[in-house]
């Protein structure tokens, strides 16, 4: 479903990677590994279409993501280093707006449930600036519960999370893979992911 053909990315004069080929089918997790600065985030951003590669292309269901544009973004969920939530809005508001922008508005019941499941019961209507770093991360990750995207691109999703939240996120990923979804992620933590096929990619050898 997700294909990468001869991808090459540069940052300034430095070549991060070149001639990268990948094919990911449904239910597969791709674990991207590498040292700091080896181009993991750049690769992930390229897969999302945020960064234009210097050569090669990314295809989704056989078509280039450049031509698919909005149809591709409908099936994509990206969770980057930044949480992408407004600190002056509550968790509820943040999630409702995100769902609306993603094109599938959800009822407030679904948002309450998602926040409860991610472990933020009782914090739903506090401005997120009052929450701890880990709790903010949880708000951002609650989008995974609400979203119907097929492809999840997660950049260091486990940062700032406690043991309980890590387990929860692992569960979410496993569920997503079992449902035929795709996950591309980077993490420095050794996190066992039991279900689905796990592919590994090492950058900057």
């Amino acid at each position: 479903m997700l294909e990468v053909i001869g991808l090459e990315c540069r940052r300034g004069d430095r070549r991060l990677f070149s001639g990268l080929d990948l094919v990911l089918g449904p239910g597969t997790l791709l674990h991207v590994r590498g040292r700091n600065g080896s181009g993991k985030t750049t690769l992930l951003r390229t897969l999302c279409g945020l960064f234009t590669p210097d050569a090669g292309e990314v295809r989704w269901r056989g078509e280039s993501i450049r031509t698919l544009a909005e149809d591709y973004r409908r099936e994509l969920l990206y969770c980057g280093h930044l949480n992408g939530i407004k600190s002056d809005l509550t968790g509820l508001e943040n999630l409702a707006i995100a769902a609306r922008l993603d094109g599938d508005p959800v009822g407030s019941d679904a948002v309450w449930q998602a926040l409860a499941r991610i472990g933020l019961r009782g914090f739903e209507d506090l401005p997120t600036r009052m929450l701890s770093q880990g709790q903010k991360r949880r708000v951002a990750l609650a989008r995974l519960i609400l979203s119907r995207a097929r492809l999840w691109v997660l950049d260091e999703p486990f940062t700032a999370l406690d043991v309980e939240a890590v387990a929860l996120l692992q569960g979410l990923i496993a569920e997503h893979l079992a449902g035929g979804g795709l996950v591309v992620m980077t993490t420095h933590q050794e996190v066992p992911l039991t279900s689905g096929q796990v592919a590994r990619l090492d950058l900057g050898g």
């Binding site: 409908r74 930044l82 922008l101 094109g103």
Partner: protein
Amino acid sequence: MWAVFWCILKRDLLLALRRRTEVLTTLFFFVIVVSLFPLGVGTERQVLQILGPGVVWVAALLASMLALERLFAADYEDGTLEQMLLTPQPLSLLVLAKVGAHWLLTGLPLVLIAPLVGMQYHLSEAQIGIMMLALLLGTPILSLIGAIGAALTLGLRGGGILLSLLILPLYIPVLVYGAGAVEVSRIALTDTEPYLMLLSAFLLAALTLAPLASAAALKISLE
């Protein structure tokens, strides 16, 4: 599609409501700059009547520059802008909604306070009416053109100064015709029509082109 437009508009208004200072700064800046001139040049009626239109418009340009830098910067810093780029919505529509909210918060207050400012310069009622109309047509153009500059300078160090250098020259037509309309209305009200028509034409052109240009600029800035 409009649901998304309203969603962003409401979001930005709600955010401004929770951070009121940013809105009030623009308005107070405008009022203070405009009020400084009578103190500086004296209160002679005729001098003020001649200076009035130009001063009000220059102050409006500067005031609208003030909040422009924050138009996309806040969303850029917390990653929400990145997420907007990844939604299956046309980015130019989201930009238009953001600019709309920006105008409601920084442009519209200037229009509403104009009568008060006009009185300081001994402008007649009719002139004040024309000034409000001209500001109503002109301030959205300022926000729309400004959005292109804000998008281009996003994330640059010292972007604020660069933004002013980039955008202020583009504001000149609005300044010329906006101040012109008020100036001409001193002699004959009917003569203001071509000025207002030209401002309307600028507004329509800016409404169609600026969101597209800003969206393209945002994509480049976020790479």
